[in-house]
């Protein structure tokens, strides 16, 4: 369980201080939590604060009761947090197998690595020795990114817009990946998404807007309101 208490985050820009997260209080429990809300509302910054890429300027984070606020990226990863980047990173010379091996944290066999790739819909044989560089399409990189988080198998995972760029692969497959992952880890999966079909698998939905938690609760409570709000320009990111 991840608990965020009064999380603030601001960035210093050319135009001065920009408040991005403004006193976020949130408990993310086991199961699926889908975080949604308008673009620029602070969702990705929240994911980066959780994974340690951003250091909050105020507030505390607790993972299973342990204060992890002062831990860096590596320590958070070791504590059991995984983070799938919205924009996967490219590497010259690092192969898909290398990346999956690093993620698994131990030497893994080719067939094990292939299993992770197959579960994200990639024909493993074709990819295992490819470099994670710009010769791969955005969609392929995105699936490899998801596979790297699967390989970690931690009890807490955050996915930033996992569906973006996954054009040819059906949503059903993506959702099956998340379901299988939950079966395996029995942990918490936090997904940042605008997609109705991802919102539908949520146990809880959190709406972040203007750096604050605007609404939060069980899917059945929150989702109908979001669907109604689809005409509202403030939530224009939500579409199916």
């Amino acid at each position: 369980m991840l608990k965020l208490v009064d999380i603030d985050f601001f960035a210093n820009t050319e135009k001065g201080r920009k408040d991005i997260l403004k006193g976020i209080n949130l408990e993310i429990n086991d199961g699926f939590t889908v975080v949604t809300g308008p673009n620029g509302g602070g969702k990705s910054s929240l994911a980066k604060v959780i994974s340690g890429l951003y250091k909050p300027t105020g507030g505390r984070l607790y993972l299973n009761g342990e204060d992890i606020t002062d831990l860096g990226i590596t320590e958070r990863a070791k504590a059991g947090i995984s983070y799938a980047f919205q924009q996967p990173v490219r590497f010259k010379g690092i192969t898909v197998k290398d990346l999956i091996t690093i993620a698994a944290g131990r030497e893994i066999s080719v067939s094990e690595a292939c299993e992770f790739l197959s579960s994200v819909g990639l024909c493993a044989r074709d990819y295992i020795d490819r470099e994670v560089n710009s010769s791969l399409s955005g969609g392929e990189l995105k699936r490899i990114e998801i596979a790297s988080v699967l390989a970690r198998g931690t009890e807490f995972a955050v996915f930033d817009e996992p569906e973006a760029g996954i054009d040819l692969w059906s949503f059903n497959s993506l959702i099956k990946v998340f379901e299988k992952m939950r079966e395996r880890t029995h942990g918490s999966i936090m997904i940042i998404s605008h997609q109705e079909r991802i919102l539908e698998i949520a146990d809880r939905i959190v709406v972040i807007s203007d750096g604050r938690v605007e609404r939060e609760g069980p899917k059945d409570e929150i989702l109908p309101g979001l669907m109604y709000d689809r005409t509202c320009p403030r939530l224009d990111g939500i579409n199916s």
Binding site: S51, G52, L53, G72, I73, T74, R76, A77, K78, S82, Y83, F85, P88, V89, F91, K92, G93, I94, T95, D98, L99, I102, A103, G105, E131, S148, R152
Partner: protein, 314 residues
């Protein structure tokens, strides 16, 4: 003429160098010449590969018979005598339609306070339809103040439809290097050069390529990847000259760290309207997001850095 040779006759330091530069732990099965501290200490020719000493200057001629297939030739050089200055001329004659792999390389162990230096001038005559893979690794070690210097010059002439793949690597311990490569390509001839360099400390590396694509349909691909750490300096020069219908591509990609300096001067010259030439050059530090990604998978910053560099120079 074969020179009697036993690996046991080489001191442990030399054996370590041979392993580092050429992966040699025992006597190679095919043709070879091992040069240690300025002289040949072991040599063997085969039916298809003849190695003979030059009469007018230090060095050897390596003659590969036309139509040869499946031969690998080892010609490593090691320097363990402190402060030795070694100059060698090696000429390779690759017969028509021969396919051969040549493993060269130079290892210096220098514990002294004087400079150890190896200058190798290699000239390749690649015959029609011949196919050569040339691998060269440079490595230095030792605890003295004396510097390890290696200045390899490679001159390549490729005849009609010949092909040469050149893979050069300098990973460690070479304090100063000036690498010069000159290639002339005939009709349909192709050359692929891949260079990997890592410099650290106060090392200095200059690399200079010039390829003349004279023949119709010739192609050249020159790719250099380097990492410059600490206070080291690197200079990359490449000039691809398209003198006919040809295709040339050069790419210099460098990671810069600490207080290092990297300079890149890619040049392309078209002397024909049918020449297609491209150059790419990029210098940059390791991207922060690359470190962050690997750290988010559980690596420390140092481990992430090593993975990124290891992959880049793989």
């Amino acid at each position: 003429m074969n020179i009697d040779f036993d690996m046991k006759d080489v001191a442990a330091v030399g054996r370590g160098l041979l392993d580092s530069i050429a992966g040699l732990t025992e006597i190679p099965s095919g043709a070879f010449n091992i040069r240690a501290d300025g002289k040949s200490i072991g040599r063997a020719s085969t039916k298809a590969v003849e190695i003979i000493s030059k009469k007018d200057k230090p060095g050897i001629n390596i003659i590969i018979a036309p139509g040869t297939t499946g031969e690998t030739v080892y010609i490593p050089v090691i320097l363990t005598e402190p402060g030795l200055q070694d100059l060698v001329y090696n000429d390779f004659y690759i017969g028509e339609a021969a396919t051969v792999e040549i493993i060269a390389g130079c290892g210096i162990h220098n514990d002294s306070c004087t400079e150890s230096r190896h200058d190798g001038i290699h000239t390749f005559h690649v015959g029609k339809n011949a196919h050569v893979k040339y691998v060269e690794r440079h490595y230095g070690e030792g605890n003295g103040e004396g510097t390890n210097v290696m200045n390899p010059t490679t001159v390549v002439n490729i005849e009609k439809n010949g092909y040469m793949e050149m893979e050069t690597t300098q990973i460690k311990g070479v304090d100063s290097t000036e690498r010069v490569t000159r290639a002339t390509l005939g009709e349909g001839a192709r050359i692929v050069i891949s260079e990997k360099i890592m410099t650290h400390g106060r090392q200095h590396a200059t690399t200079d390529f010039k390829v003349d694509m004279n023949g119709e349909g010739s192609t050249a691909n020159v790719v250099s990847r380097s990492v410059a750490r600490d206070d080291s300096r690197q200079q990359f020069n490449a000039d691809l000259r398209g003198n006919n219908r040809c295709h040339g591509h050069s790419e210099c990609d460098a990671i810069i760290m600490d207080n290092a300096v990297v300079s890149s001067l890619p040049q392309i010259t078209a002397n024909s309207t049918e020449a297609e030439l491209i150059h790419e050059a990029a210098i940059g530090k390791i991207a922060g997001e690359q470190l962050e990604k690997l750290m988010s998978l559980g690596l420390t910053e140092k481990e992430a850095e090593d993975k990124i560099i290891g992959g880049f120079l793989k």
